[in-house]
Symmetry: C2
Subunit: 337 residues, 2 copies
Amino acid sequence: MAGNMRNLGFVLKSRPTRETPAGVHNFEMIERSVADPADGQVLVRQIFMSLDPYMRGRMNDGKSYAQPQKLGEIMGGGAVGEVIASRNERFKAGDKVLGSGGWQQFALSDGRDLRKLPAGRLPIEAYLGPAGMPGITAWYGTNKIIGPKPGETFVVSAATGAVGTVVGQLAKLAGARVVGIAGGSDKCRFAEQEMGLDVCVDHRAADFEARFNAAVPDGVDGLFENVGGDPFRLAMRRINPFSRIALCGLVASGYDGTPTALEDMRMVLNARCRIEGFIVSDHMPLWPQAISELSEHILAGRIKWRTSVAEGIEAAPAAFFAMLKGGNFGKQLVRLG
Amino acid sequence: MAGNMRNLGFVLKSRPTRETPAGVHNFEMIERSVADPADGQVLVRQIFMSLDPYMRGRMNDGKSYAQPQKLGEIMGGGAVGEVIASRNERFKAGDKVLGSGGWQQFALSDGRDLRKLPAGRLPIEAYLGPAGMPGITAWYGTNKIIGPKPGETFVVSAATGAVGTVVGQLAKLAGARVVGIAGGSDKCRFAEQEMGLDVCVDHRAADFEARFNAAVPDGVDGLFENVGGDPFRLAMRRINPFSRIALCGLVASGYDGTPTALEDMRMVLNARCRIEGFIVSDHMPLWPQAISELSEHILAGRIKWRTSVAEGIEAAPAAFFAMLKGGNFGKQLVRLG
């Protein structure tokens, strides 16, 4: 039956180079027929696929925390969908699942990467966003690395991104004064009015540095860093004694080879600052606790979230690069079915 | 009785500037008569005074972890000595004490900064070195921040300094492969043959970078950083996943305003590295445990140590600046009596 259906997807065709920076030209759309599941396999019709900044790192061949994406193979990534055929006893047709089928419409799996989603409580795309990997990333960095305390000043960059949205609201729930950094007045308005941040500073403003400094009159106790570049440098210049920095991403700079430096280690020494780089997949034993807590917050309206949805598999590459430039507003998804 | 005795000491006369860098000219010797203790006071004849890198930071007026030294007052610092007169019920003449009398021969104290030293087990100067603040600094950074594990590669800079001497031996006791960095073949020989480090690399060697890289073929899991500058940069380029960096000092660069940068935060993210600046005086509740463990190691010969001793109070400023340039070999002291 499946053999009559077309499966459109994208493979990584080439890697970015210094001469030819990353772009949609690195991807190639391919069309295959959908295979019937073999013994033990599950066929998933993917409904939403996730676009995440870490994928940019996987386009490179070099050293990154993520394994390089293999050329000529379907670009990897998370997706939620519905089981349409199963020869695996753990799954049956109709099950909603979170998997890692990547940039394609249909995915075959041996079941090991699939997790059945609880019925009905949250929209399934939440498991790619605030109740999924980005939300768990936010939860780990905020609660396990930084540990915001009432009255402290907490800064989060990319404050309305998939991770930042959850970070800022978790820090507010912990009682901190939260300063967001985001690009554009729409995002800053959302951060202040919907997410409840105390201030959100627009990094596109000509007087960003002055605005940022005015927003942290008592210095910075916690920093959840998603971006790197100028916001990181400015925040580090204002760190307080015993500050904690969770280093989650460096989207603005590093993926294309521009390093984000830490200007002066003496600031770190004088402040007795702790800086931790982290990757949420190193902490799988904590995922169930994180998902449970995040789901409760979302259902209770304590964590609000947004999605940017691109329509159709064809839109994936352009939506991905737009996201890396901040074109998304909340969790970036592609709707496949 | 005391009034007839001379007390020679040094006050900080001026602060370093960009035009006139730090030097012995910043200190002035003064002579006072020794005052009799008032009610509640203790008069200490100081036997050894300590010279420590943090004192360089106190010469500046700017932001440092240490409070700026006040101009015109006796330069502060640790010292060990003997009570020669007491009007404080906690102390009596003949008691050996650790105190903070600073750069002078005699010190009056209200007793709050004094700690009676146990009789006889260790030479009293050990309480300014491996069983004192430098040793506790080593203990905290090595055991509480880095936590070296068997088989890991552990790097310590200023490996034969007062702190580094203890760091390297504690890391060996924990089962790590320990690579020291020190200046000159005498120090490196001591580190390898007496301290038992696996390798000690001479940072004065023309091919230091190549030698260092050859010494860490499996990368760096733990780094106890006392120096900053090139050794720090080279070590950071080799950090392994889940590496831990204890940032204790930046002698080689920062005190005179030359920043030590961390070249690329992406290294920290990719390695999921943790960097912690620390100051041992923030952790006073742990001092008794540290002193007890260190004393046992020293008595059992598991921690060997050396001192560089300058003779007489007059020698203090020159010995201090020589130490900042690595002229010392082990704990730098001034013998006062």
